[in-house]
Symmetry: C2
Subunit: 149 residues, 2 copies
C-alpha cells in the first residue's frame, strides 16, 4: 500500500469515499473541482469588486454572494480523488502528499465563509475583515498547493 | 429597450442583478454556470450510478450527493446573464427569450432536490421516485433550452 493510499484511507472525510469507489470518475473529478473553483471565483470576485470599490457596494448582493460562496466552499475538496493527478490540473505534487492538510484547509475556509455570511447584510466595513480572512484562507492553499499560471 | 431587456428587468430574481452590473463578467458567467453544471453532473451521476445498480447503494453517500446537489442546484441560473449568449455555450437561442421560464424551472428543480434530500438516508427505494422527479426536471430544461452535443 503506497503512502498516498495510506493517507487517503486514513482520511475520515466521507466526501472522498464515493469517488474512490468509482475509479473511472477521475476525469470527472478534475472537471468537478475546477467547476467549483470557478464558482468560488465568481462569487468571491463579485464581493472583491465591492471591497476594492470597483463596483458600488450593495448589501443584498454582497450577502447573496457570501451565502453562495459558502454553499460551494466545502465541495471542491471532494474532487481531489486518488488518480486525478494528471491532465489539465494546477494541483502541485505536494497536494497529493498532504491531503489531510488540504482537507483541513477546506474545513477552515468554510468556517471563515460562515463567519463572513454572519457579518453581511449591513455596512461593508462590518464584513471587510471577515472577507479578508476568507481571502487569506484561499491564498494559503494556493501558495502551497497550486501551480502559478 | 429590447424585449430581452424587458424580460430581464421584469425578473424579480435578485440573483441576476449583480452580474448585470458588471458587463465584463459575461465570459466568467459562462464558465460559472458551466462549472455549476459540472457539479450537477458529478453529484447526480454518483446518485444515478446507484439508482441504475452500477455502484452498490450506500445510504450515506447517496444522501451526501443529494445534499451537495441541492447546495448547487439554485446557482447555475445566475450565470445566464445578458450578453453571455456567445462562445462555448450549449444554450439554445430560445433560452434567452424565456428567462422567466428558465428561472422558474431552476426554482422547481431546487424544490425537487429538497424533496429528494428529505427522502435520503434510508432505503434506495424510498428515494427513487424523488430522484426521478429531479431527473425529469433536468431533462425538461435540456429538451427545451440546451443544444444536443
Amino acid at each position: 500500500m503506497s503512502l498516498k493510499k495510506v493517507v487517503l484511507t486514513a482520511l475520515s472525510c466521507a466526501l472522498l469515499a464515493a469517488p474512490l469507489a468509482q475509479a473511472d470518475r477521475t476525469e470527472d473529478a478534475i472537471e468537478y473541482r475546477q467547476g467549483i473553483f470557478k464558482a468560488y471565483g465568481w462569487h468571491f470576485g463579485a464581493m472583491g469588486a465591492m471591497v476594492r470599490g470597483k463596483v458600488d457596494y450593495d448589501a443584498e448582493q454582497f450577502a447573496h454572494h457570501a451565502k453562495s460562496f459558502l454553499a460551494v466552499a466545502p465541495l471542491a475538496v471532494e474532487g481531489f480523488v486518488e488518480g486525478s493527478d494528471f491532465g489539465e490540473t494546477a494541483a502541485k505534487d505536494e497536494l497529493w502528499d498532504n491531503l489531510d492538510d488540504v482537507n483541513q484547509r477546506f474545513v477552515d475556509m468554510t468556517e471563515a465563509a460562515e463567519k463572513l455570511v454572519a457579518l453581511t447584510g449591513g455596512e461593508l466595513s462590518d464584513a471587510k475583515a471577515a472577507f479578508g480572512a476568507v481571502a487569506k484562507s484561499c491564498k494559503g492553499c494556493h501558495d502551497n498547493y497550486r501551480e502559478k499560471r
